[in-house]
Point group: C2
Chain length 211, copies 2
């Protein structure tokens, strides 16, 4: 299963969840229109997992949602820990879409003893020295990293050493993880910087256009 396919499946699920209340059946053309993918791509992606829908009759939206949730391992709850309870970390803990999507932060960690013992959005803040014990005891697979860049790799190493297998990294660094551990970066500044290249082109055209 190519990783690029695995990356697209949550987008399918998100699109289907948005229409679930008003659409019963969707074909690959309609789903492709929604996601700006070709119908052939949609059919090919879904064919990795077996047969969904019948030729010419489209997919049952509810069934496809259930199958995608099962395939992605989303038919259960996932416990997470968060490291770095600064302003960004507190905003992440307060972000309602994680718990609503089955991702539940059970503990947060910080090196600042002034934060330890508090609760943020109902999540207890512990000292980072307690990280390995909590990850092991609670069987945590997912860690969110929201520490400053200078500490990010060390925190990620600590999470991996403690047994975490998936890391959502908000620190603006290219962190390294060993094989078998997944890492996704969330960096809105990088996303913005990948658009200004085109904005710059636009203004250059305006600037130099003889018309």
């Amino acid at each position: 299963m190519p990783e690029v396919v695995v990356m697209r499946l949550p987008l399918y699920l998100r699109a289907l969840n948005l229409i679930e209340d008003r659409v019963d059946i969707i074909n690959s053309q309609e789903l492709g229109d929604t996601l700006q993918l070709t119908p052939a791509q949609i059919r090919k992606d879904l064919s990795y997992f077996g047969k969904f829908g019948k030729q010419g009759r489209g997919y049952n939206v509810r069934t496809l949602i259930q199958e995608l949730r099962r395939i992605l391992g989303l038919d259960r709850e996932w416990k997470m820990v968060l490291v770095g309870v600064g302003r960004l970390g507190r905003a992440i803990l307060a972000y309602g879409r994680f718990p609503r999507s089955g991702f539940v932060a059970v503990a947060a960690f910080d090196a600042d003893s002034g934060m330890v013992g508090k609760k943020v959005a109902g999540v207890p803040v512990l000292h980072v020295s307690d990280l390995p014990a909590v990850v092991a005891r609670e069987g945590i697979s997912i860690g969110i990293v929201s520490v400053p860049p200078s500490h990010a790799q060390q925190v990620i190493d600590d999470l991996v050493h403690a047994g975490v297998k998936a890391i959502l990294n908000y620190a603006p660094v290219a962190a390294k993880v060993p094989p078998g551990v997944k890492l996704r970066d969330i960096d809105p500044v990088v996303a913005a910087q990948s658009m200004t290249y085109y904005l710059k082109q636009d203004s250059a055209v305006e600037e130099f256009s003889p018309y």
Copy 2:
């Protein structure tokens, strides 16, 4: 210039910024190690923009940073507007890395008249009906969308109609923009959901292993 190259350049810049204070010269092997890219990939990406560095002598870090900033249009400030001043919108306005990276929110908009007239992180909140006038008057190119999914496409259409050319979309929808407008999605839940597929495989292996 392939978009995939443009997407990587901010990562180069981010990596170089992190080492700028302690490294003068970096070669493509070292930069590749940092970014988990091959040296050949790095050389090929940078070759799109002309000749940086000398064969066998590596890149001057400060010069490369300057060139990347110029190429990406980051040698100037970019004004942004944000639409949707809920909890997420307020967290984005308070996110210090945007202004520190030259992305300055000059106004925020909300449909809730209770928010209008307030300031969030120093940014004035205006009514959404004022959006077109402000975008035109201030020459805004970048819009951040942090409204609920049900309103996201309409807000994006409004931004595009007002003249915005680049959209950073935090709403969990596959939004559509016309050609010539760039869109980047920030969706940490989708990122997390693209990792559980592998976590599930791990636990399945454990569960069924005869050893």
